[in-house]
Symmetry: C2
Subunit: 163 residues, 2 copies
DNA sequence: ATTGTAATGATTTTATTTTGCAACTTCCTC
DNA sequence: GAGGAAGTTGCAAAATAAAATCATTACAAT
C-alpha cells in the first residue's frame, strides 16, 4: 500500500506534478476502495472524512490528473455519473466489468480476454488499438443462485450488495 | 424504411405505447442518421426541422422509451453526453465501436466478435451474459494513412497525444 | 525573505437531463 | 356523438454533474 503510493508519487513527479496531502488522501481512498467503483462525489465524501477541508473541485482535478496519468480509468456504466477505477499496476489495458442487471453489483475481470479480438480488429479494420472498454451486462452468480434455489443462510450471509 | 417503422410501431403497441407523430418523427431521424451517433440535442434539432413544435423533453422521453424497448442503445463515449444508436434489427447483442483518439471518428463493427469471450465469461465467472458494450480506443485507418504520408512510421509511433 | 509557479477551496457557470403539471389526444363505453 | 380514463405533450422549473473562475495559500528555488 505504502509502496504503491510511493510509485504513484514518482509517476506524478516524473510528469512534474506533486503529491500534495489532498492528492495523497484521494489516492488512499481509491486504494482502500479498489473493489468499488466510486463516483467523484463518492470519493469526495470519503476523502472528506480524512481531510475535511478538501474541496470537491480538488477531487475532480485530482481524478482528472490521475486519469491522464493512467493511474485510474474513468468509466461510465450508463447512469449519468463517471466512475473512477484504479488500473492494475503495469496493466497495458483496462480491465473488464460484469454489471449485474438484477442487483447492480459490479465485478471485475483483470484477465485480458481481448487479445485475439484486438488482432482481428487491427487486421480487418486497420484500427490501431490503444485501449478498450468492455462491459458485460447480465446476471451475476449470486443472483443466479438466489433465483435458482431457495436461499440458504450461508448465501444470505454472503450477500452484501446495496443499490 | 417504412417497414422498419411499421415494425417499431408494433413493438411499441405490444408494450401498449403509441407511435405518435412526435415519436415517429424521432424514429425517422434515427433511421436517417443510422451511421451517426447522435446526442439527444442532435436528435432534437433534427426532429425540429420536420416537426418544429416538438419539445426537447419529448425527445428525451422518446429516446428513453426506445432504449427500454431495445430499439436504440444509449452509449457514452466519455464526453459528457449520451448518444443514441439504433440496434440492428434482430441483433441479439449491441454492436461495437472504434473511437479514434486522433480525429474523434466513431466507426461501428456489426460483427459479433465476442462469442468466444462470452463463453469464457459464462464458464469461468458464472456470469449469464445478456448484453455487452465494447469500445476500442485507438487510431483509425484514415489517421494512420494521413500520418503515414507526412512522416515515417517511427515518428508517428512516437507522437504524444495531448488533450 | 522574496518571488514565481502550482495547487487549493469556495463559488459560479454551463450543460445535460429529468420532473411537475396543465392542456391536449385517443380510444373506449355508453 | 358525449363523457372519461389513460397516455402523451410542451413548457417551465428543478436537479445533476462537471468545469471554469478567481482570490488565496503553499512551496520550491532563488
Amino acid at each position: 500500500m505504502e509502496s504503491r503510493i510511493e510509485r504513484i508519487k514518482k509517476q506524478l513527479h516524473s510528469a512534474s506534478y506533486k503529491l500534495t496531502p489532498q492528492r495523497e488522501a484521494t489516492v488512499r481512498v481509491l486504494l482502500e476502495h479498489e473493489e468499488d467503483h466510486l463516483s467523484a462525489e463518492d470519493v469526495y465524501l470519503l476523502v472528506k472524512e480524512k481531510a475535511p477541508e478538501i474541496g470537491l473541485a480538488t477531487v475532480y482535478r485530482t481524478l482528472e490528473l490521475l486519469n491522464e496519468l493512467k493511474v485510474v480509468d474513468k468509466i461510465n456504466f450508463g447512469d449519468g455519473v463517471s466512475r473512477y477505477d484504479l488500473r492494475q499496476e503495469g496493466a497495458a489495458h483496462f480491465h473488464h466489468h460484469l454489471v449485474c442487471i438484477e442487483c447492480g453489483a459490479v465485478d471485475e475481470i483483470q484477465e485480458d480476454l481481448l487479445e485475439d479480438v484486438e488482432k482481428v480488429v487491427e487486421r480487418d479494420w486497420k484500427f490501431q488499438v490503444k485501449d478498450h472498454r468492455l462491459t458485460f451486462h447480465g446476471i451475476c452468480w449470486r443472483c443466479q443462485e438466489k433465483n435458482g434455489t431457495e436461499e440458504t443462510k450461508e448465501e444470505s450471509l454472503e450477500k452484501q450488495h446495496v443499490e
